[in-house]
């Protein structure tokens, strides 16, 4: 059977897609902030995107729409190693102007050894999928287009 094609989430998705930014309680041991900004090809923040994340080891799922400055943020924990892969968080970004979601992964900066052996990071071939530590928070910006485009995955 023919698949149902994707269509853009449009600018008004907040009506139907409520945020779920806290995947764990803030006082849970190991709780961390994952935050960043979504940028378009002109380098401007995207104020109407929605970011979803998925962590299979504890079945944690979250969703956050970007604010006027293109910012998103989650409270979550670092996943364990899975399937011989380095710890990572799956991420999908939807927005007006994206006819289909883009998908990427967030890796951890303190996992150099595991990252070096990770098969997906090897395919991505650059460092855009490793978040950076910013005052104790995990910072991961998404560049939809251009020189600094984030590596997006065909999953």
């Amino acid at each position: 059977m023919l698949l149902t094609p994707s269509q853009t989430v449009g600018p008004f998705f907040a009506l139907g897609l409520p945020d779920a930014q806290r995947l764990v309680e803030e006082d849970e041991p190991g709780a961390l902030s994952l935050e960043g900004v979504v940028y378009d090809g002109a380098g401007d923040p995207v104020p109407d995107a929605v970011v979803e994340i998925w962590q299979p080891d504890r079945r944690l799922w979250g969703r956050c729409r970007t604010d006027a400055g293109g910012r998103y943020g989650f409270v979550t924990v670092k996943p364990g190693p899975l399937d011989g892969q380095a710890p990572h968080i799956a991420m999908a970004i939807f927005a007006r102007g994206l006819l289909k979601q883009v998908v990427t992964r967030v890796y951890f900066p303190d996992e150099e050894e595991a990252n070096a052996a990770d098969p997906v990071l090897a395919l991505a071939g650059d460092a855009t999928l490793v978040a950076r530590d910013e005052d104790g928070a995990l910072r991961f910006d998404v560049h939809l287009q251009g020189e600094r485009q984030t590596a997006f995955l065909d999953v």
């Binding site: 023919l2 698949l3 009506l15 139907g16 079945r59 999908a92 006819l99 939809l144």
Partner: protein, 231 residues
């Protein structure tokens, strides 16, 4: 564990479709990196009835009064591309009101808001993949994409399916809409047969006499790759 099928995914629109202006600065320009499916892609969130109220699918009953507009039942079945039902899976919808206005701060279309209509609902598919919403038919509305651009009437749908790899956001349209030919979002789906998948069908059998018209919209999500037979 086998992965999800990659054949058939070419029905999706390209990221860059210049007629839809917003894609120009948002479409990725570097090719996607094909990665094997791991547990990350083969699993996905499960939403249970604690997240979905038993009346969340009734968009006509969320306020003191009934919304204006043509009351409709929207229903259908969610299956994978091999026809297997996608059971117990979350569907979220949102839409404009009958006048073509969203109850959203950023919608500045000078059409009236309806105090009795928010335009959002959710439900879980049943064991056979079936779902149903009661709502009003949304109006067409103008947008800034090009001179005198109007979106055909549509309802947005968000579906999860069983895995991160089956996630789908789409739009359901109504049969015979005269605006299809000039709408770049609808036209971004290049295969005319695939475009037909986005158009609901009028469903006389599910209409309720003296109460509501009905439209059927079936959704087909990716299915798993065939697994080798084991002895």
């Amino acid at each position: 564990m086998a992965g999800y099928r990659r054949d058939g995914t070419e029905v999706h629109p390209p990221y860059l479709y210049p007629d839809y202006r917003s894609t120009r600065l948002r479409a990725p320009t570097r090719p996607l990196i094909v990665v094997p499916h791991t547990l990350t892609e083969l699993t996905g969130p499960v939403f249970r009835h604690d997240r979905v109220g038993p009346r969340d699918h009734l968009l006509t009953e969320q306020h003191d009064g009934e919304p204006l507009g043509e009351r409709i039942i929207v229903h259908g079945r969610v299956t994978d591309q091999d026809g297997r039902p996608v059971a117990d899976s979350l569907i979220e919808i949102w839409q404009a009101n009958a006048a073509g206005r969203y109850a959203h701060d950023r919608d500045h279309h000078p059409a009236p808001l309806d105090p009795n209509f928010t335009g959002a609902g959710r439900c879980l598919t049943d064991r056979d993949g079936r779902y149903e919403f009661v709502t009003v038919k949304p109006g067409a509305y103008p947008w800034g994409n090009h001179h005198n651009a109007w979106r055909p009437a549509h309802i947005h749908l968000s579906l999860f399916g069983p895995a991160f790899a089956t996630r789908l956001v789409t739009q359901m349209y109504f049969p015979g809409d005269p605006l299809f030919d000039q709408d770049p979002i609808f036209q971004s789906v290049r295969d005319p047969r695939a475009r037909q998948r986005l158009i609901s069908s009028f469903d006389l059998e599910r209409t309720v006499a003296d109460w509501a018209l009905a439209y059927r919209f079936d959704v087909v999500l990716r299915g798993p790759e065939a697994t080798p037979m084991e002895d």
